[in-house]
């Protein structure tokens, strides 16, 4: 019995030591106050030189932390104990953060550089009037394909996916809104459709696509497409850029009927201790020259119209990533449709997945 007791004590002591170390580690990563700024961003999503430049210009020390999904970011902030001054979430996450009162309204008088942002990318449904957010990078959803395999098909229309010659060649992302969205947009409906009749119709249309679908996968889609496991994939433009970087045979296109558009945006969460510095940082990032430098580093599409002048023609002239107004007019931002509607989308998506097997 004595031995059991000893073992028990050792385990308890070890557990307490671990708890102590982890809380020490957690507390040590948030210097805060007027001379520091904690930025919480996606990994490798800012030019580090710009961070140093900001530190030199303002004398504010930047602490940079990263997350790998909006969900992880939301959980960490909601959990408390953090002191992030700047966060860069995607559009739908901003909806949630707004609803839960996690954001500080922006003082537009302290962000004069906001005027450089293309008006197409301001005043969007997830944050009308840009009360809480400023767009950082944006992109679309489209079709990436291997011209060598698909022989002359160009995918300028979503209906090209239904081509009988593409049996088992398409990869889709495991996400209900995106996949049901393909059905909706090909029928000419809105991506934020809430009419159950139209949604059923889209589901029916998708079931006809089933024989062409090779697999519905997650993040692996990048690796699979780059390795030419499939000829066609429906992906976000950010992923498309990464895939094409690895395999330059592939091409990306935004079908003409329209598509989704996504935004990553700079916001100030209520955990901020240096709201003043956060505004300085936002304004700094919106400066055309800085935005251009950042765009060259990150290689996503910048919403900063003035920055385009500082970028080489080969970047800004690429209509796949900088489409003209004729294309952007047909793009839609996904709106938060509420839990009940999302549940309905998911049910249809689940049925589509089940249907696939019989096909």
């Amino acid at each position: 019995m004595k031995k059991v007791m000893q073992a028990f004590i050792v385990v308890m002591a070890a557990a307490f030591a671990l708890v102590g170390t982890s809380s020490y580690l957690n507390s040590s990563n948030g210097y805060s106050g007027a001379d520091a700024l904690t930025v919480y961003n996606w990994g490798d999503y800012i030019d580090p030189e710009l961070v140093s430049k900001f530190e030199r210009e303002t004398g504010i020390r930047v602490v940079y932390e990263t997350f790998d999904s909006n969900e992880a970011m939301l959980t960490k902030i909601a959990h408390g104990g953090t002191s992030f001054d700047i966060v860069i979430p995607s559009d739908y996450a901003i909806n949630k953060m707004k609803a839960e009162g996690m954001l500080v309204p922006l003082d537009h008088s302290k962000i004069p550089n906001l005027k450089y942002i293309d008006s197409r990318f301001l005043d969007l449904p997830f944050d009308y009037g840009n009360e809480y957010s400023v767009p950082y990078f944006w992109g679309t959803m489209g079709i990436i394909y291997n011209p060598e395999i698909v022989e002359g098909r160009d995918f300028t229309s979503w209906s090209a996916l239904w081509d009988e010659g593409l049996g088992g060649e398409i990869l889709l992302v495991d996400s209900a809104r995106e996949v049901i969205g393909i059905g909706l947009v090909s029928l000419g409906y809105s991506l934020n459709e809430t009419d159950t009749g139209h949604l059923q119709e889209a589901h029916g249309k998708l079931c006809e696509l089933a024989p062409n679908v090779k697999a519905i996968v997650g993040d692996e889609i990048k690796m699979l497409l780059a390795n030419e496991e499939a000829a066609v994939g429906v992906v976000w433009s950010g992923d498309a850029a990464i895939i094409m970087d690895e395999n330059d045979k592939l091409d990306y296109v935004i079908p003409s009927e329209g598509s989704m558009v996504w935004f990553d945006n700079i916001v100030i969460p209520t955990t901020a201790r240096n709201v003043e510095g956060a505004h300085l940082f936002i304004n700094f990032m919106l400066d055309p020259e800085n935005a251009a430098q950042n765009t060259e580093y990150v290689a996503y599409s910048t919403p900063n119209a003035a920055a385009l002048e500082y970028l080489p023609e080969e970047i800004t002239g690429d209509a796949r990533f900088y489409p003209g107004p004729d294309v952007t007019d047909n793009l839609e931002v996904l709106i938060n449709l509420g839990k009940r509607m999302l549940g309905y989308y998911n049910e249809l998506f689940l049925e589509f997945k089940m249907h696939r097997r019989r096909a």
Partner: protein
């Protein structure tokens, strides 16, 4: 006095069971009574008995059955040969070693191996069969699942076979039983408890597999595990996710009862 000290030593275990066994099951049952808007209802249970979820359940059972069957078919002879080898423990460790590796890592390795340009297809085209679609098929799903679960099948069967008194086999042969008769009437019945606990250790987790349904089967195989994952992570319909979980708990309970947990207990007591 002594009685009271003993009770005190039981406290951590009782707390553990209350916190990590009883509380979660109670919470799942509790959540299953709420719909997506948080209203108290039994609608989730009604929804489970619609064709979508029922056929999903039937398929989950079918795949779990196939996985268990193939695991058993491979594991029994393997375990039998293991007991005949000179360095049993070494071989056993070698067989169990892959299960120390992270599941995700193994799944990714299989994506590479089964891919269109992977080594398996290279071999197939080298021997003249030609490139086949292996990844994202039911075959690859069952193959990988069997690979993952096989150590859990081999261990209990190996233990049962190892315990078997060899003189019983010798006696059967002396009395004129053929090799097959000896196996069918002596060896197999005496090791049935190992087979049972092996089947349980494979069938129950196989029933709610989810990650490799996407990674290896590309969502061509949809199990109840997939649906639970989607309801909890995407839809945030915890009620429906919990309802499916409740059905899985009930199904597993039934399986335990049917395969007789008493004999399994003896196995573990070893």
């Amino acid at each position: 006095m002594q009685y009271r000290t003993r009770n005190m030593y039981l406290m951590p275990y009782a707390a553990w069971i209350a916190l990590f066994v009883i509380a979660p099951i109670a919470l799942i049952a509790y959540y299953s009574m709420f719909d997506i808007d948080g209203a108290l209802t039994l609608a989730n249970y009604r929804r489970f008995f619609t064709p979508v979820y029922l056929s999903m359940a039937v398929r989950s059972f079918w795949y779990a059955f196939l996985i268990t069957m193939f695991s058993l078919l491979v594991a029994y002879p393997t375990a039998y040969l293991l007991t005949k080898t000179r360095h049993k423990q070494l071989w056993l460790v070698l067989i169990i070693m892959p299960s120390w590796m992270n599941l995700l890592l193994k799944a990714y390795a299989f994506i590479g191996m089964f891919g269109t340009y992977g080594p398996v297809n290279a071999l197939l085209s080298a021997v003249g069969i030609g490139t086949r679609q292996i990844l994202f098929t039911e075959f690859s799903f069952i193959f990988v699942a069997v690979y993952i679960f096989i150590p859990f099948m081999i261990l209990p069967i190996f233990n049962a076979l190892d315990e078997l008194n060899p003189s019983l086999v010798a006696a059967a042969r002396d009395l004129g039983a053929s090799g097959w008769d000896t196996f069918r009437r002596v060896v197999f019945p005496l090791t049935i408890s190992g087979v049972k606990s092996g089947c349980r250790a494979v069938f129950i987790p196989a029933l709610s597999l989810f990650m490799i349904t996407r990674l290896i089967a590309g969502n061509r195989v949809i199990t109840l595990g997939t649906a639970i994952e989607q309801h909890f992570l995407v839809t945030q319909d915890w009620g429906m996710g919990s309802t499916i979980a409740v059905f899985l708990v009930i199904a597993m309970g039934l399986i335990m009862a049917l395969t007789g947990s008493g004999e399994g207990g003896k196995q573990h007591a070893r």
